[in-house]
């Protein structure tokens, strides 16, 4: 007895320590995830919050800030300790990063200023007073402008200077100007675009006719004549629309706002350059929240500007979404069919085992390898042949013989197909034997049993595989850079223009967008908040895609499991 008791007590603490250890492992994991999400959330969301703009007074003789030592206004973007290069008196001092905007006037939007360059209050803290009545303008070019509005000059000659009237006129003019923008974009993109594509097809028709009839005969042929007439009619329409658009453009250009910057100088800004205005220091909390939500929405729904450092990321969200969807459409049937053959029909033996091992190993092949394969096979071989067969009239301009959303989706589908095969095989083998036997005993053929009973019953497991594949595919960047993702795509892969789905188009992708912002951006300070906000959206998109797949799966599970007894 004493002996066993001894061993009991000596084992117990050991076990407890291990339990504690496993708990620690889990906590570290959870902390890492919370930290990761926390940092991305904070940095990503702070981009949309209207920051207070302070007046910054510099000490006598300072050369810091924009315009070498003049007082300016800006939002505090960062405060951090700075280690001085020369080991002088204190060694450590703080440094502020200000967002002062007005890139056109100051050369850059962000400025670093040492704390000891700023006038301090009685307690020795840097003195910041909110700049009252300051206006923040979001512009199409040169980023935000910060300053005090002086006067509005409209195209019809009226000038408004009285502060209250000016405020009202400011918002009204922005609204009108945005409406004009919308109208002429519609004219230029839709109507003129339609005319252009018609003219292009007429031109191709003419070329084909000339080749067919010979140059001389073509000139007199009635067909060519008619085409020429059509072309002239289109040309007339074009001129009319172009004039209309030009007039609207001109009007937007002529309305202008005069702004006094905090550094003293005055600047005239045309309304064609202004997209939005707000007075950050005069907003109430609900007003700020409303602005915050509106900014998030604009970020998600607008196209990028200024080499992607301004504006929204809608094309990237949409591109990621469409690509992931196309990938799922390609990978599902392919993976499931392959798994059915492997599990249900192939004679289990050495060959099947070898195939299975290869499939498992394919899941571990670095993604860039798939990118190279996609470029070499899909783009050059398949795309090249498609161009030669069906789009030879457009050559040498490549249609499918260059990267595009179709090839990118297929490349990722190939990359994720092992995941689907493995999951499907598992799901198939998890279907109870009794179910298959029941189907066969009812007189079903093997295929009928699989199609009607086994596949539906294993649908939840197959969907789990698809979820994993989607999660891997949506976040992948490296292979996409070879097969069709671009920094800025002129149009979406899915739109209202016939044939609506443009599989040959290049597209934007959130993952690549992050890479582009972080490493290829001309203004890294301006791009930084965008990096976080875009990352946040990528995470949200992956979560949304997964959640919807999980919801479908759970629904199926409920349908097929039921509660026994």
């Amino acid at each position: 007895m004493p002996k066993s008791q001894h061993s009991f007590t000596s084992i117990r603490p050991k076990g407890e320590a291990l339990v504690w250890f496993t708990g620690m492992g889990l906590s570290v994991g959870i902390l890492l995830i919370i930290g990761l999400l926390g940092i991305i959330l904070k940095n990503g969301l702070s981009m949309f919050w209207p920051d207070t703009i302070y007046e910054v007074q510099l000490v006598e003789g300072s050369t810091a800030g924009p315009r070498n030592g003049q007082n300016f206004a800006g939002a505090i973007a960062l405060e951090r300790h700075k280690r001085l290069q020369e080991a002088t008196n204190a060694g450590l001092t703080s440094e502020f990063q200000f967002f002062a905007g007005n890139k056109d006037a100051y050369g850059q939007m962000y400025h670093y200023v040492d704390a000891d360059q700023i006038v301090t209050d009685a307690t020795g803290e840097p003195l910041f007073t909110p700049a009252s009545g300051i206006l923040q303008l979001e512009r199409i070019e040169f980023g935000d402008a910060l300053g005090f509005p002086l006067e509005i000059q409209l195209a019809d000659g009226t000038t408004i200077t009285e502060p209250e009237a000016l405020k009202a006129a400011l918002f009204k003019t922005i609204e009108e100007s945005n409406e004009r923008l919308e109208t002429y974009t519609k004219i230029e993109k839709k109507q003129i675009g339609r005319i252009n594509s018609k003219m292009e097809s007429i031109r191709l028709e003419q070329r084909a006719l000339r080749e067919e009839l010979g140059e001389a005969a073509a000139e007199t042929s009635p067909q060519i004549q008619e085409l020429n007439e059509q072309q002239a009619a289109l040309q007339a329409q074009y001129t009319e629309l172009a004039a209309e658009a030009r007039e609207l453009r001109e009007r937007r250009h002529q309305d202008s706002l005069l702004l006094r910057l905090a550094t003293g100088e005055e600047r005239r800004i045309s309304f064609e350059n202004i997209t939005q205005a707000h007075f950050p220091n005069e907003m109430s909390l609900p007003g700020k929240v409303g602005f915050f939500l509106k900014q998030i929405w604009r970020f998600m729904s607008e196209a990028p500007r200024e080499a992607n450092t301004e504006g929204g990321i809608f094309p990237a969200i949409f591109g990621t979404f469409v690509m992931t969807l196309l990938m799922s459409l390609a990978v599902m049937p392919f993976g499931v069919v392959a798994a059915i053959y492997l599990r249900e029909y192939a004679t289990q033996g050495v060959i099947v085992r070898a195939v299975r091992i290869s499939v498992n190993n394919l899941a571990g092949v670095p993604s860039i390898v798939y990118g190279v394969f996609g470029l070499g096979f899909f783009v050059y071989v398949l795309g090249g042949s498609i161009d030669e067969l069906f789009f030879s009239h457009k050559l040498p301009t490549a249609t499918f013989g260059t990267g595009g959303v179709l090839w990118a989706s297929l490349t990722l589908a190939l990359m994720t197909v092992p995941v689907v095969i493995v999951a499907t095989e598992e799901a198939l083998s998890a279907v109870p034997r009794g179910m298959r036997e029941a189907a066969l005993a009812c007189g079903a053929s093997k295929w009928q049993a699989i199609q009607r009973i086994v596949l539906p019953a294993s649908a939840p497991g197959i969907l789990t595989g698809l979820i994993l594949a989607m999660a891997r595919g949506a976040g992948e960047v490296a292979p996409l850079m070879l097969v069709g993702v671009v920094k800025l795509a002129p149009s979406l892969p899915l739109d209202g223009e016939f044939p609506f789905v443009h599989l040959d188009r290049k597209f934007m992708h959130l993952g690549f967008h992050i890479y582009d912002l972080a490493f290829q951006s001309p203004d890294s300070d301006a791009a930084k908040p965008m990096v976080f906000a875009t990352t946040l959206l990528l995470i949200v998109l992956v979560i949304v895609l997964n959640l919807s797949a999980i919801t479908i799966r759970n629904h199926l599970r409920k349908k097929y499991k039921g509660d026994t007894f």
Partner: protein, 265 residues
């Protein structure tokens, strides 16, 4: 308890419907599990297979509708005929054979579909989709399985929402939907509680008016209650086969007597 009017005729004086003949032997790979079986099963009666676990009852039962074909490396010698046609006849498709034979398994295994779809499965796979015909089959089968009154208001609910006993009766309804000639049952009550078991036994008694039933059972009382004839197997051999009353009251073989009196098994 059910008092079935029992057949009392002796072995030879009936027309056999299913015949296991020519010394039927069966192997899983190189392991022989059935030895030199010869057995005649009468039409529209209940024949029970009894014997200790592992003696080959299920194997023989599953040979009758060739369910064993799913297993790799099986072999057999001898023959099985149903209504004078060999089940191994090369011109006979396994699928059409199975359409003539309904099967009920030890563990109830309804499809993860609605009650209705479970029953019409065998019709749908044969391409019979006419609604009126399907409705009629569903009602007939469910009535045949004594389940109609319980489920007639929820035919389109999932079959998996039923109780175990109901699920097993649904499996029986599914087995008779195609109007088979034979119903094979492999320990149909082993997963059921006594009340559900009673219902299934009652049902078997009803079904034998229209179908030839072969039932494997572990439960001696059940065999005695539901079957007309009983075959006792031991280690893959047929030890004794006779009218049920004879097997239980006056067995000729000592092993049979030891088994039915519960001294081993």
């Amino acid at each position: 308890m059910i008092q079935a009017p029992k057949t009392t005729d002796s072995r030879e004086d009936f027309e056999p419907f299913i015949q296991i003949k020519d010394n039927y032997n069966f192997w899983y790979g190189s392991t022989q599990v059935l030895f030199d079986l010869n057995l005649d099963i009468p039409e529209k009666q209940v024949t029970a297979f009894i014997g200790p676990s592992g003696c080959g009852k299920s194997t023989l039962l599953r040979s009758i509708n060739r369910m064993n074909d799913l297993i790799e490396g099986i072999q057999h010698t001898g023959d099985i005929t149903i209504g004078d046609q060999s089940i191994y006849d090369p011109s006979l498709e396994v699928i059409s054979l199975r359409k003539r034979i309904g099967m009920v398994f030890q563990k109830y295994n309804p499809f993860p579909k609605s009650i209705y779809e479970n029953i019409v499965f065998s019709l749908r796979i044969a391409g019979r989709n006419k609604k009126s015909e399907l409705d009629e089959v569903v009602e007939r089968s469910l009535r045949g399985a004594a389940l109609w009154d319980e489920v007639k208001d929820r035919l389109h609910e999932s079959a998996l929402s039923m109780s175990g006993g109901q699920m097993q009766r649904l499996c029986i309804a599914r087995a008779i939907a195609n109007n088979p000639e034979v119903i094979l049952m492999d320990e149909p009550c082993s997963a059921l509680d006594p009340i559900a078991t009673g219902k299934v036994e009652e049902l078997i008694h009803e079904l034998k008016k229209d179908y030839t039933i072969v039932i494997v059972t572990h439960n001696m009382q059940q065999a005695a209650r539901v079957s007309d004839r009983t075959a006792f197997f031991y280690l893959g051999k047929l030890i004794e086969y006779d009218v049920t009353d004879n097997i239980f009251m006056k067995p000729k073989n000592d092993q049979t007597e030891a088994y039915v009196s519960g001294r081993f098994g």
